[in-house]
């Protein structure tokens, strides 16, 4: 074992040692904390606050999973990743899950050997331009210089969109959102493109957000969700059903404030099963029976998480739109807890 550890550490691509693959849950429990990959900083989704504590919409998913496993939402090590390092970090076992506004695509799910466990934000790619530029549609951007994060689906969509509309552009590749923001504000590029939610979050941090508009075109589908390594389905189930629990909790009206009260027992059997008052759902995924209750108590339900971090009352000000519950005309739909 010693020898294999030595060799593993020396392996060229930084592949991690040993059989970390099989039982991620055991590894996480033995370590006593969850390693969760997030962005290097996108306000509202994942960014350290003034005290250095990570906070945000994606961070909430990480904390919910940690709370479901340990009953402690702070048992998370946040690992900041860029568009280029995120997949290697997950594949090598450096992180247990990735919650970093990552788009669910066919090749990432199959060829890159990952499993997307759901969607926590339905998004699409947009463009932000200075109002002074006088551009009202992305199709007017012929010949423009556009800042773009490398290693993202937006990089590929951009090539597709401009080709489909038979117009040209100059790409300025950048590594992180912060770099993109700086380049864009310095005028090194005419437009900055990323997921519309990311644009809203970035614009919220500008000195004069009113001087910039997000163009109406949404040029792609970007279902963003947490993902895990392919091959450990038990671990994938835990992340998937923690996310579903947050979504279902909103549907049933379970919030962080009333969850303890409801956990005492209600006349809705679905809520009772979700919160572990009835049935043995927790044991089926190798967790305690109050796993979902802990997750909801720690971060709130999906709606609370949304409103607190990126909702209309925050500087980012995103409407629920597609991310409303199915009962309200959105796409959020958790399978039943049964």
């Amino acid at each position: 074992m010693k020898k294999s550890v030595l060799f593993g550490a020396l392996t060229l691509a930084g592949l991690a040692a040993g059989a970390a693959q099989a039982a991620t849950l055991d590894d996480v429990k033995a370590r006593g904390s969850l390693n969760c990959g997030v962005t290097t900083g996108l306000v509202g989704f994942a960014a350290p606050d003034a005290n250095g504590v990570w906070d945000g919409f994606d961070v909430g998913v990480c904390r919910a999973v940690a709370a479901a496993i340990f009953g402690d939402a702070s048992a998370v090590n946040f690992v900041p990743t860029t568009g280029q390092t995120r997949f290697t970090a997950l594949a090598s076992g450096e992180i247990d899950m990735l919650a970093r506004n990552t788009t669910w695509t066919f090749s990432r799910d199959t060829d890159l050997k990952f499993d997307f466990v759901g969607v926590n934000y339905y998004d699409g790619q947009g463009f932000i331009v200075p109002t002074a530029l006088g551009v009202s549609s992305a199709k007017e951007l012929d010949g423009a210089t556009i800042c773009i994060q490398t290693g993202t689906t937006t990089e590929l969509n951009l090539a597709d969109f401009f080709r489909a509309n038979n117009i040209s552009y100059v790409a300025v590749p950048i590594e992180t959102n912060a770099e993109g923001q700086q380049q864009y504000l310095a005028g090194a590029c005419d437009a900055y493109t990323t997921d519309a939610s990311g644009l809203a979050a970035t614009r919220a941090t500008f000195e004069n957000p009113g001087d910039h508009i997000i163009l109406p075109e949404i040029v792609s589908k970007e279902p963003l969700g947490p993902l895990v390594r392919h091959g450990d389905n038990e671990w994938g189930d835990i992340v998937m059903w923690t996310l579903n629990a947050l979504i279902a909790a909103e549907e049933y009206g379970v919030t962080s404030t009333n969850v303890n009260e409801l956990a005492a027992g209600t006349d809705n059997p679905e809520i009772n099963r979700l919160l572990g008052t009835e049935g043995e759902l927790g044991a089926m995924i190798g967790l305690s029976n109050d796993w979902a209750k802990n997750a909801i108590a720690a971060v709130g339900n999906y709606g609370e998480l949304f409103e607190k971090n990126i909702g209309e009352n925050t500087p980012i000000g995103l409407a629920r739109g597609l991310n409303a519950q199915w009962t309200n005309g959105g796409l959020l739909y958790s399978p039943p807890f049964r």
Partner: protein, 404 residues
């Protein structure tokens, strides 16, 4: 009666492998070799086990698939949608070669200049050069790259400023210095321009022939011809004469401000400029020290002898000191060239599309082939470094002292 006793004949004993000096070194080498091979076997088998447990294969088929991403600077035809990852890698390789080539040239010029200046008797000049050398040598290259790029993007005007009149083009409205790129006029080769090029090449040949003639004449008679002035005249006069005789076959394509950017002409992108300057200034600081060491290595008696013969200081430097100093300078210069080339892989920090950014960055990220991509990239840098050091070693061998 003499009794002869033969030494007892003993067979080969295993302990001889350790205690017999005839065998010991062989034993050690064999054992070391076995351990080394075991180590590499373990490395390969561990890699294979890990790849298998992640369900990954080891193949290079991904290089033939369409890349799908745009590359901002490309020396060859590249199309995001149809070109393959192999072509994207080639685009990156060419960009790496470009910045390495430009960087080596500028670093050499600056390095020699600052190396000589640091030895200047002028206190101010030698101190200022010392500050430059120590400043660049002792701050990480990445910081210099980012700092120079930040200066370019933050302090130079954006193209929009040219529209409002806040900034204007320089050199008779032909060059626009913006925070995205420096836009310059590009030559347009019209009819008869091949004749002009031929004339220019002929005048270069003429310069070379004249210099040989002048050297031979000086050797034979001691007379010094005005080489510089004749060379300059040969360089400019015939080409300019033929330019007008042929009816101005070469015109210039000027950059013009369009909706968003300047278009037309040539452009030197800010990312290339920043990387080039940072690599050159950083490496030049090291080269300057090599040059200084080389010059100091030439015995003082050499320059005193040259002065005694009546040579002026600049001729002493050119004819006596530098040729001897070169023998000391070249070997460390080779490793500085290699350093510069390998350091160019920091290009992604400013979004320059070198091989690390295309093959080693986006391609790996899209295909998930980390091991293959990194191996290919390592192989490329290895081959490039070997080529550079091979070429420089040949040059070095020619400059070494020839004993007669």
């Amino acid at each position: 009666m003499a009794i002869t006793t033969d030494p007892p004949v003993q067979g080969f004993r295993l302990s001889q492998l350790i205690y017999d000096t005839r065998y010991r070194s062989m034993t050690i080498q064999v054992v070391a070799m076995i351990l080394l091979m075991l180590f590499f076997a373990g490395l390969v088998s561990n890699t294979m086990t890990n790849l298998a447990s992640k369900g990954k294969t080891f193949d290079f088929g991904f290089m033939g698939r369409p890349a799908g991403y745009e590359i901002s600077q490309s020396l060859i035809a590249y199309d995001a949608v149809t070109s393959t990852h192999a072509r994207a890698a080639l685009v990156g390789i060419l960009n790496t070669l470009l910045v390495a080539f430009l960087g080596c040239i500028l670093a050499t010029i600056l390095g020699v200049l600052f190396g000589v200046l640091r030895l200047s008797r002028n206190w101010l000049i030698s101190r200022l050069t010392a500050v430059y050398v120590e400043g660049f040598r002792n701050v990480p290259l990445l910081l210099w790259i980012i700092a120079i790029y930040a200066i370019i993007t933050e302090s130079l005007p954006a193209p929009a400023a040219f529209r409002t009149g806040e900034a204007s083009m320089i050199l008779n409205d032909s060059v626009a210095v913006t925070n995205r790129a420096i836009y310059m006029p590009a030559p347009v080769w019209g009819a008869n321009s091949t004749i002009l090029i031929a004339v220019f090449l002929l005048s270069l040949a003429g310069i070379w022939a004249f210099r040989r003639y002048a050297a031979a004449r000086q050797e034979a008679t001691g007379q010094i011809l005005p080489v510089l002035w004749v060379s300059l005249a040969l360089f400019f006069v015939p080409s300019i004469l033929f330019f007008f005789i042929l009816g101005r076959p070469v015109s210039l394509d000027y950059p013009a401000l369009t909706r968003f950017n300047f278009e037309g002409g040539m452009q030197l992108r800010g990312s290339l400029l920043a990387l080039w300057l940072a690599l050159s200034l950083y490496t030049a600081a090291f080269i300057a020290e090599n040059v200084r060491a080389g010059i100091l290595a030439v015995s003082k008696g050499q320059s005193e002898a040259a002065f005694a013969l009546g040579l002026r200081p600049n001729r002493t430097m050119k004819l006596v000191i530098l040729p001897q100093a070169l023998r000391v300078i070249i070997p460390p210069l080779i490793s500085q060239y290699l350093n510069l080339t390998k350091n160019s892989s920091l290009a992604i920090a400013v979004g320059y599309a070198d091989v690390r950014a295309t093959l080693g960055g986006t391609t790996i990220n899209l295909t998930g082939k980390e091991l293959e991509g990194m191996l290919l990239m390592g192989l490329f840098y290895l081959l490039l470094s070997l080529l550079i050091s091979g070429a420089m070693n040949i040059y070095n061998a020619r400059k070494q002292l020839v004993s007669r």
